[in-house]
Amino acid sequence: MKRKVVAFVSSMLLCLTSAVSFAAETIKIGALYPMSGRGGLYGQDSEAAIKIALAEVNAKGLPGGKKLDVIVTDDQSKPALAVTLAKRYITEDKVKFLYGVVSSGAALAVTEVSKEYKTIFVGTDHAATDLTANAFQKYYFRVSNNTYQSMAAGALYMKDEMKGAKKIAYIGPDYAYGRDQIAELKYSLGKLGVQYEMVGEFWPKLYEPDYTSYITAIIKAQPDVLVSGFWGGDTVAFIKQAKAYGLFKKMKYFHPDGGGNYEVFSTLGAECPEGLIMSARHHNNWPETKENKDFVAKFKKATGRYPSYAAEGAYAGILAIAEAIKKVGNADDTEALIKAMEGMKVRLPEDPKGFASYIDPKTHQMVQAQAIGVTVKNDKFAPAKYMLGKFKVYPADKIMPTQEYIDILIKTKKK
């Protein structure tokens, strides 16, 4: 009899707690990603990665039995639309966090909304240094590298690994992303005292379909190294067209921010030239840690394909938010959340052994290491036939934007 009562009471309790946890409100996160067009792949990969992160975080549980929930909307990478959607998230959906955004232009607009409504905005993808420098506001956090970090790592690589390369040419898309990269590389090379000569700068428009005339002009300029600032499909188109002209036999190709994005390798397949020097914000084959292997495997299982770099950023942000809520005990005290996130460590798939990414308290930029590699044959991540290898790793603290550079940005760009 006694046993029956115990069983009854405990089952009642179980029902009650499960009912409570069911009724416990969810903490909403409002994510903005492009779901179509050239950036659509990043949006779709980010959404898939968010789902993986949510499953992990919600399984572990949050204070008060609450659960995280993410709403994803297509912002078409348009600043005006992103602002409208962000405001609607805050006023109608009552989200506690704004999230995501691929386009730096859209992110610069959304960070203003975040400031105005005092709502935390966790950026997962966009790379413009401005957001954690001259356009910084305290409700903004970024969990992936900015272009300064990749270009600073790039400068270190040039100094140590490419000693003979003195004549530099640059090609990059003609908007902020392309312009910032070369400015940041020049700044870092200058800081390191590397001597070089610019023999040409080329500015095709974003999504330029045909680079033929640029390629012949670059070959004519005879640089030792061509620095490239393309992303996505533009990288693929440029490489295919340049290969036919024998460009890669005539100079080194150096692409430290987005050249090594997985989708470049999966699209190029066997056509990828060997020996291109590239990096990305996340590599599927580096570091060889359990965290990275698990993340890549989970993504592959969920979607049937390997992730682009964008996925890891989207995954990282959810872990960071969950960590902050655990520290504070709720998601309502925004100011306390900010305090908790400043300096907070999060162990991420892209962290090499013995290191955990952390948020710089001053700029709210995630401090991460950067690995630059060279394209080598590797068909373990089909349909890619080449992946990066022979990685050189640059420690996180060596590639953070200096205060001097932030001051330059504040002076030249204002807010």
Binding site: S36, G37, D210, T212, Y214, G233, V236, K240, Q241
Partner: protein, 295 residues
């Protein structure tokens, strides 16, 4: 500038120009004959690239891909004309509707492509026979680019022959001058319209298939080629086939040498050329002085 650099830049510009011509000529043909401004024309370029991607992944043959691209895009183009465009064609006073309708199809085709093939960008390999490059001393010209130039010239000659030496061509020319009159002479005008639409979109599709080994195609890449095609059509004169050829060559070469001499300003050059042409010849370089008689 040495002769080698000139040749290298010139041929680069020429291959860009030929692909541009393939898209722009269809756009201008449709405007000339059907008086429809087909904003969605770039989307047929995109469709062509996807059709060839699909055919190549099934049959592993580049040429089957090219045929599939032209046929597929042409077929979709004809369907579009028969089901939708026909209902608003010729009503010049309602040009805004044409733009709305054809713009809507940019979005519809983009989403259709995304739904079928996914959001990742696609590219295909060159056929083995054209994968190499020709070296002339300092000048390297990829065989495939040379092939595109030759193909463009073949199409120009074929178009010249059809337009000026065959009955169909004469009907098309007549229809572009006065559609009603041609109808009164007993010509099945709607059939001519559908055919023109089909051929024009097939050329766009073929351009997509030829560009796919060089470029990347993603949902939305139709818009990337339509702007340059528009510039070409405006410079050449709306509806003027030969104008489109001349303007495509002009824009291709102006860009090629602009990039060499003033890379900072290169992306402005085609617009600058267009503005200059519009100031001195508002109806385009190849327009007939008096303009077309209004129907």
């Amino acid at each position: 500038m040495t002769f080698e650099i000139f040749i290298s830049q010139f041929f680069g510009g020429l291959s860009v120009a030929m692909l541009l011509f393939l898209v722009a000529s269809g756009l201008t043909l449709i405007f000339g004959v059907a008086k429809v401004f087909n904003f969605a024309h770039g989307s047929f370029y995109m469709l062509g690239a996807y059709f060839s991607y699909q055919a190549i992944s099934m049959f592993e043959n580049f040429w089957i891909g090219a045929v599939a691209a032209a046929l597929g895009a042409g077929l979709v183009g004809m369907l579009l004309e028969i089901c939708f465009i026909r209902r608003i064609a010729g009503r010049e006073e309602e040009g805004a509707f044409q733009i709305l309708l054809t713009y809507a199809f940019i979005l519809i085709l983009d989403d259709a492509v995304k739904y079928i093939w996914g959001p990742a960008y696609k590219t295909i390999s060159k056929p083995d026979s054209l994968a190499g490059s020709l070296d002339f001393g300092q000048v390297t010209i990829p065989t495939f680019n040379l092939f595109i130039i030759v193909l463009g010239l073949v199409i120009v000659v074929a178009a010249w022959y059809v337009l000026s030496r065959t009955k169909t061509g004469k009907i098309i020319q007549a229809a572009s001058t006065d559609t009603q009159m041609v109808g009164m002479l007993g010509v099945n005008v709607s059939l001519v319209m559908s055919l023109v639409f089909g051929v024009a979109t097939a050329m766009g599709g073929l351009a997509g298939a030829m560009a796919a080994p060089l470029r990347t195609v993603a949902p939305g890449s139709g818009v990337e080629v339509i702007i340059d095609s528009l510039i070409v059509v405006v410079i050449g004169g709306l509806g003027n086939f030969w104008g489109a050829l001349f303007a495509a060559l002009l824009i291709g070469e102006v860009n090629a040498f602009g990039i060499l001499w003033m890379p900072q300003w290169a992306s402005l050059l085609s617009f600058a050329v267009m503005i200059v042409v519009l100031i001195f010849k508002p109806k385009g370089l190849f327009s007939r002085e008096k303009g077309r008689k209004k129907i």
